[in-house]
């Protein structure tokens, strides 16, 4: 099964087995990863599902669309080079993704 590792801002990490087709945000929220708020439930409207993708995983993801890029300018913690909105990342076959959560989402 695909795996996603969430590293909290304080260093705590949790690895979760994810379902293909779900978003990284859904995987986090349903399993109670506290660092992801996802107020809009994945509608690309809130930017409270911000994650910083591990450097070496970033390039393997499909590129983001303009809307996501714009939303990322409004995150609570300023975006980093490999920031993404996790509701826009789909879990795919064989995925083994590492992401770090920002200190706050709101």
């Amino acid at each position: 099964m695909p795996k996603i590792t969430f590293a909290a801002a304080d260093g705590d990490t949790r690895t979760i087995e994810a379902n293909i087709g779900d978003s990284v945000m859904e995987t986090a929220v349903r399993n109670g990863i506290g660092g992801i708020v996802a107020e809009c439930g994945g509608s690309l409207s809130c930017a409270t599902c911000h994650v910083i993708v591990d450097e070496h995983d970033f390039a393997s993801l499909p590129p983001m669309e303009e809307m996501e890029d714009e939303m990322l300018w409004g995150t609570a913690v300023d975006r980093a080079g490999t920031s993404r909105l996790s509701c826009q990342i789909r879990v795919t076959e064989g995925m083994d993704l590492g992401v770090t959560l920002p200190e706050t989402q709101v």
């Binding site: 107020e39 439930g41 509608s43 409207s45 809130c46």
Partner: protein, 425 residues
């Protein structure tokens, strides 16, 4: 603390958040999250958008996994409708469901939301007159859409427009009838109503303003047409979206004060001093910074349900947290992604930023010199900048924002909060 803990009636956006936040704040007693719907707690916004368009499955509407509920010792009860509550003056009591089950509690929270307002015209009870408030409504609508070529939507609020755009994208011939002289008049300014109207008309939705429905015309008990003025508009389905009514009946029976919702104080506590009421069902002091004193509001939004539930969770654990944050809302309508920050009601000046792109639109609203809100369509940069400006309590100079080439983010960086002082002056 007794052993019955918290009973939350209504397991949707507000109830779920209250359960989750009370655990996050260290509430240790049992938590029961009870709802009358026969579904695991799910989110409503996609019902008129991606779910209606068959882009996502039912599973992706579900808020949390069963493991999550188990791990946090939250008991989720489905399909039980509470119709009677006995409560003692200290706030403990028992809720009774229609099936006769008893749910004792030490503390009660009402997160019972709102229900669709019914249309009151002849023929409104015909088969094929549908509403869209919950998952069963959506499943019914989805089951009927393949066989329906022509849809008449009654009501040009968010849900009506979103559903109209979704059904149109599925190839239906859609007519939308709105009684008022503009769309979503309650929530957006006139320029935004116009923008939305023009866009959906161009896309091919037949939108008629100032249209009062006289009758729904049937044949063999089934919808056939909608009669407006002298005209009959053929319809295989009629979808009604004419607003909601807060569910206050339980609260009224308990003797709680209700006035367009269950009246609560700044801490989401009802008039008995103990029952919590949260979300669409609650009427609260206007929490928006700088809003006219003494005003009260009832919101119908996800953002509010979440923020209000957090306030209530603090009250539950004996902490006096006031509502923080700026109300915001979104509505996806076909190609339009509308985002609203703040509340524009009571504005005396609006400034339209007109980007060259015909799919983009943003308007900022002011009361006096104070920025109070913005409607942004397909311009998340503007939305995010205004939301940040509002939460920091700074205004953006109206003359400068009128230039669509000036990024609001830079104006925000230059702006100073009234209480931050101005070092350069």
């Amino acid at each position: 603390m007794g052993e019955n803990g918290l009973l939350i009636i209504g397991s949707s956006q507000a109830g779920v958040q209250l359960a989750v936040s009370s655990r996050a704040l260290g509430y240790a007693a049992p938590v029961t999250l009870l709802g009358d719907e026969n579904h695991r707690p799910y989110q409503r916004p996609p019902l008129s958008k991606d779910f209606l368009q068959d882009k996502i499955t039912k599973e992706s509407l579900i808020f949390r996994s069963q493991e999550f509920w188990d791990e946090h010792r939250i008991t989720v009860v489905k399909g039980e409708r509470v119709d009677k509550i006995d409560v003692t003056p200290d706030g403990t009591g028992t809720a009774w469901s229609a099936s006769g089950r008893a749910f004792p509690f030490d503390r009660l929270a009402l997160t019972v939301g709102a229900r669709a307002r019914r249309l009151e015209v002849p023929g409104a009870d015909l088969d094929g007159v549908l509403y869209l408030r919950n998952a069963d409504d959506a499943l019914d609508l989805k089951a009927r859409t393949p066989g329906a070529g022509r849809v008449v939507v009654i009501g040009g609020g968010f849900i009506g427009i979103e559903a109209a755009a979704s059904l149109h994208s599925l190839g239906k011939r859609v007519t939308l009838l709105e009684f008022a002289d503009r769309l979503v008049a309650r929530a957006v300014g006139a320029e935004t109503s116009r923008f939305i109207l023009d866009h959906h008309r161009r896309a091919g939705i037949d939108i008629r303003l100032g249209s009062a429905v006289d009758e729904i015309v049937g044949h063999d008990g089934k919808v056939r047409a909608v009669r407006v003025g002298g005209e009959e508009i053929a319809a295989d389905i009629v979808l009604v979206g004419v607003g909601v009514i807060p569910n206050t009946e339980l609260a009224e029976a308990m003797g709680l004060r209700c006035d367009d919702g269950i009246v609560v104080d700044r801490h989401a506590v009802a008039s008995d001093g103990t029952t919590l009421a949260v979300g669409d069902c609650a009427n609260l002091p206007n929490p928006v910074p700088g809003s006219p004193a003494g005003g009260r509001v009832r919101f119908e939004s996800v953002n509010h349900a979440i923020e209000h539930a957090k306030v209530a969770a603090h009250a539950l654990v004996g902490r006096q947290e006031e509502y923080a944050g700026i109300p915001w809302f979104w509505s996806n309508q076909g190609d339009l992604k509308l985002q609203i920050a703040g509340l524009s009601s009571g504005y005396d000046r609006s400034v339209v930023r007109s980007p060259a792109d015909p799919l983009k639109h943003s308007v900022l609203y002011y009361r006096g010199d104070r920025l109070i809100a913005a409607d942004c369509v397909n311009v998340p940069l503007d939305f995010m900048a205004v939301k940040q400006a509002l939460s920091r309590g700074v205004s953006l100079p109206p003359d400068a924002v009128a230039d669509p080439g000036a990024p609001l983010k830079s104006l925000l960086a230059e702006a100073t909060a009234p209480d931050e002082g101005n070092p350069s002056s």
